[in-house]
């Protein structure tokens, strides 16, 4: 089996037809892997702990309805109770997206209001203040990114995320949104080949 995480999650074996097709974009493939490593095995750990990264990645995958990808991340958590609570939070948080508001004007007719998500007090207590705030933000980024505004970023700052930590968090959620779609797309394509 390949060391490439997207290939592993999509079930692409070395020498398979899709492996050959993927090889034509070898830089995209290796740099998607490098992005994954920079987020989950960073050379400089920065202000975001490994457990925070894996818990929030697991949350993002789980709210996408991708249990195998969620397991890939949540299995890295030493704290199994935390992994279970992340799954419970994701089951509660899952929506159908994207929804949200456009700037007031002609596009307002396309506004599709929908919920912001917040964890229950019991779930938030297990997640901790930073991860709970990170999950709230991740939910918005996944399901209604066009509702973004300065206030959600201020909420992260108030919960103990620094500006640099928020850049890492945003990249993590956005990268997962990419990785999950590549994996899902390649699985469908492999089955149709």
């Amino acid at each position: 089996m390949s060391d490439d995480v997207i290939d592993r999650l999509a079930g692409i074996a070395p020498g398979s037809p899709l492996d050959t097709v993927r090889a034509r974009r070898s830089e995209a493939r290796s740099q998607a892997q490098a992005s994954y490593e920079a987020l989950f095995a960073p050379v400089e750990p920065g202000g975001v702990a490994a457990a925070e990264r894996f818990a929030l990645a697991g949350f993002v995958a789980a709210v996408h309805g991708q249990p195998e990808i969620a397991a890939h991340y949540l299995d890295q958590l030493a704290d199994k109770a935390l992994a279970d609570v992340v799954r419970e939070a994701a089951a509660d948080a899952a929506e159908r997206g994207p929804y949200g508001h456009f700037p007031a004007g002609p596009l307002s007719r396309e506004d599709a209001p929908g919920p912001s998500w917040h964890p229950s007090e019991a779930v938030a207590a297990v997640l901790g203040r930073r991860v709970a705030a990170g999950a709230v933000h991740a939910h918005m980024l996944v399901f209604h990114p066009r509702d973004s505004a300065p206030a959600p970023l201020q909420a992260l700052l108030d919960a103990g995320w620094t500006t640099t930590d928020i850049v890492t968090l945003s990249q993590l959620v956005a990268f997962l949104s990419f990785q999950i779609r590549v994996v899902a797309g390649l699985r469908v394509f492999a089955a149709a080949m």
Binding site: E27, V43, P98, L107, P145, F175, G185, V188
Partner: protein
């Protein structure tokens, strides 16, 4: 000490999807240009990006930025077979239209027109959204990009069959998947870390 978000200066908010050049104003402090470390400059890849507040903000996590940029370049600029450049940009514009990223859609609609010369069709996609009818090939590409963009992901065997029917080979289909997926990365950064402004 807890940091604060930035309040952008007074500006005109774009209220429609457009091919005009837009500005982007950050809600969090970018690294000042004169304070960029060598590692952060390496993360920017292209030295001209030191002028961009968006890239100087992302430079706070330089290794992720560097890998993200290289992924982007190969998906969109590698012309060794696969999907024509114009249609990779079409997929980027379609994903951005679905997610509601006015800034991203403006950039990639411009690129789609540059490479395809199909101004009217690209403008119709921007004005009417991904449900509009362009031609069978573009409709199949837009539908597949939109299905990859919604959550839960709706891309399925029928999309693959349609892409084959309009002439995509295996390489082109993988390019389409990569292009649409990549804009689900890019849109979320652009939408959540700042806002577009009309010049």
């Amino acid at each position: 000490m807890t940091e604060s978000v930035l309040t952008p200066p007074p500006h005109t908010v774009p209220v429609v999807f457009t091919r005009e050049m837009l500005d982007w104003l950050p809600w969090l402090a970018p690294v000042p240009e004169e304070e960029l470390t060598q590692r952060q400059r390496d993360g920017l890849k292209d030295p001209s990006r030191a002028k961009s507040p968006y890239f100087r903000l992302l430079a706070r996590d330089p290794d992720v930025l560097a890998a993200r940029t290289r992924t982007d370049k190969d998906i969109f600029y590698n012309t060794d077979g696969g999907l024509p450049r114009a249609e990779r940009e079409l997929a980027a514009a379609a994903a951005s239209r679905v997610n509601g990223c006015i800034y991203c859609a403006s950039v990639h609609a411009r690129f789609a027109v540059t490479y395809s010369k199909r101004e009217a069709d690209v403008d119709r996609l921007l004005a009417e959204g991904v449900g509009t009818a362009l031609d069978p090939r573009w409709d199949a590409l837009v539908a597949a990009a939109a299905a990859l963009t919604v959550t839960p992901i709706a891309f399925g065997p029928a999309h693959v069959a349609k892409l084959r029917e309009v002439g995509l080979d295996d390489y082109a289909i993988v390019d389409l998947i990569n292009s649409a997926a990549f804009f689900n990365w890019a849109n979320r950064l652009m939408l959540s870390l700042g806002e577009p402004a009309s010049p």
